[in-house]
């Protein structure tokens, strides 16, 4: 009896609450309309050229589409062809994973180690060394200098040097020999990979709270390695996360350097990557559905490895 009488007033009490909640949302939206307006130019372009294209690409990967005929739905066919019938995609995938596993982590550690060493220098020397290490990543297409270095005739610097010192009798076709192409592209990729994350690490190291290091000394930190693991790394974990995202994304996206050094396509697809495969189908063969399937695989590869790495990095210094 008592519950019945109590239930109804409660119901009545809830209903106006709900209405006012809707009204509150409206009020809230109205109050922040200036914020939406400020954000709108950026967000419209961002959605138009980044968010919607990702969705489009995902959808298109289930169609056959050649830019001329109307798209035809083919289900999972693009994906099954990609993974079961496309040997070249397998080479591309293998090469891309090689970049991700080798140049990704090496460049990440290089960014950190050099930032760590450079951070100890005097301000003038620090600025100079930062410039030296950062310059390759912003100097545009200067990596074609490496073409001269690795040139296949005896005018190439490497050949010239090795022949002069007697290691070689005949010049080696560095960029036409399957054995050497991939390592060379990796070296050049490493050369210009000390970019944004490198700067972020130096800046992160400079802003570490000095009192933390002193407190650590009181608490019995004995050497540099302990200081690095227990104080430095945890203090700059946010920068480490940011740097990881930059390096991973870059190492999965290798394409321009491969094309500039090894040609497109490279000899026997020795330097073919997922991105160059995507370019092949997207800009030459116009199989847009298939290319979208490649793009979708690349998308999930990049996001997946980024998320995985972040999970690992959260454990640093624990």
């Amino acid at each position: 009896m008592q519950t019945e009488t109590n239930a109804n007033p409660a119901k009545d009490a809830i209903r106006p609450m709900r209405q006012s909640r809707l009204a509150r949302i409206g009020k809230e939206l109205n109050r922040s309309k200036h914020y939406y307006l400020l954000m709108s130019p950026y967000m419209i372009i961002f959605f138009l050229f980044t968010v919607i294209p990702v969705a489009l690409s995902l959808g298109l990967s289930f169609f056959y589409f050649n830019m001329l005929e109307f798209p035809r739905f083919v289900g999972w066919q693009n994906y099954s062809r990609l993974f079961l019938n496309d040997d070249i995609f397998m080479i591309a995938l293998k090469n891309t994973l090689m970049f991700a596993v080798i140049t990704g982590p090496i460049s990440y550690f290089a960014c950190f180690v050099f930032a760590w060493i450079i951070n100890e220098l005097s301000p003038k020397a620090r600025a100079f060394m930062t410039l030296i290490f950062y310059a390759p990543s912003i100097s545009g297409n200067v990596f074609f200098i490496w073409l001269i270095f690795f040139s296949g005739d005896s005018y190439g610097y490497l050949n010239g040097f090795l022949m002069k010192t007697g290691f070689l009798l005949e010049p080696i076709q560095w960029l036409l020999d399957e054995k050497y192409i991939l390592p060379i592209v990796m070296i050049v990729q490493l050369w210009l990979s000390l970019g944004t994350s490198f700067l972020a690490f130096i800046a992160g190291l400079q802003t570490i709270d000095k009192t933390l290091i002193e407190a650590g000394a009181v608490d019995g930190i004995k050497n540099r390695w302990q200081e690095l693991w227990f104080i430095t790394l945890p203090s700059m974990r946010p920068q480490l996360m940011f740097g990881a995202v930059m390096q991973i994304t870059a190492s999965f996206a290798v394409a321009d350097i491969s094309i500039a050094l090894a040609g497109f396509p490279s000899v026997n697809y020795a330097a073919h990557t997922v991105v160059t495969h995507l370019m092949d189908f997207g800009t030459i063969r116009f199989e847009m559905g298939y290319a979208s399937a490649i793009a979708t695989v690349l998308f999930f590869l990049m996001i997946g490895s980024n998320k995985l790495t972040q999970k690992v990095l959260r454990k640093v210094g624990e």
Partner: protein, 291 residues
């Protein structure tokens, strides 16, 4: 008690490494510094080499008789080309300046509310931006082309400029940097009756100058090095980078001019970085990602 005091006396001292380790680290830095710098030094030297030095055997690294011949050749060549060089320079300047300035303006306008206020959708929008840092623009290249052609922007400069205005990295760095502007400053402005737009323009923007320069140093080389890609095919709309690339395709006969071209292309972004370095470092200090 005594031990604690002794420890307190010792703490200001930095942990020292042994001389051997210091030497090793210095050697490491010098070695890799050389690896990083040599190709660039080589590019500078090559641009000033006369033709006979470019093809000397065994190849020589440094220039012996520096000359400006390559640069004269470059200008002579460009003066004779079908589309004058000034046209390519104008195109590149248009793309680079509008793209960079617009990016700084749009990204900071979007970053200000995201950094300083919580409202419906703010955290969701920011997570989408962070997520988009995790994949490269290659993923969206094909649908982008369709969006462009749907908008009718193929073969216009807009196809290069507009998408570059909304690169996610700029918004991310700008937002992280703006978070350190004290709230009290914004509150004071609000009490004085300033609108949100006024606050953004007169208070937030002047306070994030280091971040402007950072966005510039990230955006500028990308647009400066843009060759128009698959979006631009009219010769009179093409960029300097494309024109210079065509020269280097001339092969051995154009090797000297090609070296001059390489120097011009790389010197501009590097100079910008030298000028803006300290501001960039200030911004990068706030670049961290919190999970």
């Amino acid at each position: 008690m005594v031990f604690k005091m002794m420890a307190a006396f010792r703490t200001p001292r930095k942990l020292n490494r042994s001389f051997a380790v210091s030497l090793m680290l210095f050697a490491l830095l010098a070695l890799f510094g050389a690896f990083m710098a040599l190709p660039l030094i080589y590019a500078v030297n090559n641009a000033f080499k006369p033709l006979d030095e470019l093809f000397i055997f065994p190849p020589r690294f440094l220039v012996v008789n520096p000359t400006l011949e390559n640069f004269y050749d470059l200008f002579a060549l460009m003066g004779n080309s079908w589309v004058p060089l000034s046209r390519y320079i104008a195109n590149t300047l248009l793309i680079t300046i509008v793209g960079t300035a617009g990016h700084i303006l749009l990204a900071s306008a979007a970053a200000y509310p995201l950094a300083k206020y919580r409202f419906y959708g703010s955290s969701a929008l920011f997570s989408i931006v962070v997520l988009s840092l995790m994949f490269s623009p290659h993923v969206t290249a094909i649908p982008n082309y369709m969006v462009m052609s749907w908008l009718g922007w193929i073969n216009t400069h807009a196809s290069i400029i507009i998408p570059s205005l909304a690169f996610p990295l700029g918004l991310f760095l700008m937002k992280q940097f703006m978070e350190q502007i004290p709230d009290a400053l914004l509150e004071a402005a609000k009490i004085d009756g300033a609108s949100e737009y006024r606050i953004y323009w007169s208070i937030v923007m002047p306070n994030v100058k280091p971040a402007w320069l950072t966005l510039m140093i990230l955006q500028f080389p990308m647009l400066w090095g843009s060759d128009g890609g698959s979006f631009i095919y009219s010769e009179n709309l093409k960029t300097l980078h494309y024109a210079l690339g065509q020269i280097t395709l001339g092969g051995i006969a154009r090797a000297g001019v090609g070296a001059a071209v390489a120097l011009i292309l790389m010197i501009v972004p590097i100079t910008l970085f030298v000028i803006s370095q300290s501001s960039v470092m200030q911004t990068m200090a706030t670049s961290g990602m919190k999970d």
